[in-house]
């Protein structure tokens, strides 16, 4: 990158409107590009991928297929990594997948108390609350209170089973299919499945 005065002054003027962290990130990007460690176009591809290509719609397709195809549901239980890969969702932060099926007896909920591990290929990047100190600290000790903050009141007789993702295994919750959706297509069902339901801080309901 050229270092003529004009270019530098221009950067400075732009920078004066930026927050300290924005300035620091911008400075590090130009340094790492200048040193040849990163390709700026690769940064754009990475951002675009997680903005537009990989997100919770992927997971919703997995859930809808599990609801409509008993063989696929069985495959998910036995080898979730392979079953999910058959839909084209593979790779980074989803190398070792496990599907957790909610039942009338058990509600599953996923957290990473030690960092923010999350199944990227099926859910995209985690929401802020998933990475937040309140969720990371409280999900394991008072999951029912956390669920209430998401508007979910869990019946006393149902076990809330919290999965702390401490290794490279990544968990996808398969919520219960709501009553009244008999005969629905996979696409229509997928439209009901929310990100929170696949983390376990939500349940799938029919629109009122």
């Amino acid at each position: 990158m050229p270092h003529d005065g004009h270019h530098h002054d221009h950067d400075h003027e732009e920078g004066s409107e930026l927050s300290p962290i924005a300035l620091r990130v911008k400075a590090l990007e130009s340094l790492l590009v200048e040193k040849g460690y990163v390709d700026p176009k690769a940064l754009d591809v990475l951002i675009d991928t997680y903005e537009t290509k990989i997100g919770p719609r992927n997971g919703a397709r997995v859930v809808a297929k599990a609801w409509t195809d008993p063989d696929f549901a069985d495959w998910l239980k036995r080898d979730a990594t392979a079953a999910i890969a058959s839909l084209g969702f593979t790779g980074r932060q989803g190398e070792h997948m496990v599907a957790l099926f909610n039942t009338p007896e058990t509600h599953n909920m996923v957290v990473c108390t030690l960092c923010s591990c999350y199944p990227w290929p099926v859910l995209g990047l985690p929401p802020v609350w998933y990475k937040s100190m309140p969720y990371r600290s409280r999900a394991v000790i008072e999951p029912r209170e956390v669920l209430k903050e998401f508007g979910v009141e869990m019946a006393a007789e149902r076990e809330v089973r919290v999965w702390d993702s401490t290794a490279e295994v990544r968990y996808l919750v398969i919520p219960e299919r709501p009553a009244g959706t008999e005969g629905w297509s996979e696409d229509k069902l997928a439209g009901l499945v929310t990100r929170n339901a696949m983390i376990g801080t939500g349940v799938v309901t029919l629109p009122a």
Binding site: T90, E95, C115
Partner: protein, 218 residues
């Protein structure tokens, strides 16, 4: 290490604030910070355990005050400076003052889709016998290592039951400290809420734990 990252069981951080229809980013610098962390990871200069350990080594008050992407950015700088890929002066000034060090790979734009789709598998062939089976009761060792570990404090000394066996995986405690991948058996252990928290509850917590963290419950 008993660092600020080991959050399970803390109280005092308030309610879980969530927003409906949350956007992927909340500020323009966040995607750039995120992409820099990923792209530098692709140079092969560190593994995932070393990257996690860098975040855990940030000063505790800074860790708790930072947003997620600020924390990732700060940990990236810590690693870059420790490895000599960037000098402290360069980081401050945002321009090159020392020649670059060779890296294993520079990920070009056209390489990114294949790199992301491949990911990094962490299961390895192992030569250790499998010590536990589904249904076994295990006690979690009480350890307080100075270095990286994926054994959360809230599980130490507790008793649980093996509910899944995942094969032999890279052992983070070794991998984060330059001692190689050292694969060990990885299990999911189920703990009752009563065991972990002394509460009258039917709820449970499942944690993925490597064999060196476990001992047979006699």
């Amino acid at each position: 290490m008993n660092g600020p990252h080991d959050m399970g069981g803390f109280t005092g951080f308030g309610p879980v604030l969530h927003e409906d229809d949350e956007p992927v980013w909340h500020d323009d610098w966040e995607p750039r910070a995120f992409a820099l962390v990923l792209a530098m990871g692709m140079t092969g200069s560190w593994n995932i355990d070393e990257a996690r350990h860098a975040r855990e080594r940030l000063p505790a008050m800074r860790y708790w005050h930072s947003s997620y992407y600020e924390m990732r950015h700060d940990a990236l700088i810590l690693q870059l400076i420790e490895l000599g890929l960037v000098t402290a002066v360069e980081e401050k000034q945002g321009r090159m003052a020392a020649p670059p060090k060779p890296v294993e790979r520079v990920a070009k734009a056209e390489m990114i889709p294949a790199i992301l789709a491949a990911g990094s598998v962490y299961e390895r062939p192992g030569n250790q016998p499998q010590g536990f089976a589904i249904g076994d009761k295990v006690r979690i060792r009480t350890i307080n290592p100075q270095g990286h570990t994926r054994l959360p404090r809230y599980a130490r000394g507790k008793t649980g039951e093996i509910v899944a066996v995942h094969g032999t995986h890279v052992f983070p405690d070794s991998s984060a400290s330059g001692q190689g991948e050292d694969p060990h058996w990885l299990y999911t252990v189920r703990f009752t809420g009563a065991e972990l928290w002394g509460k009258d509850t039917k709820d449970a917590v499942c944690i993925d734990l490597w064999e060196p963290y476990l001992e047979a419950q006699s």
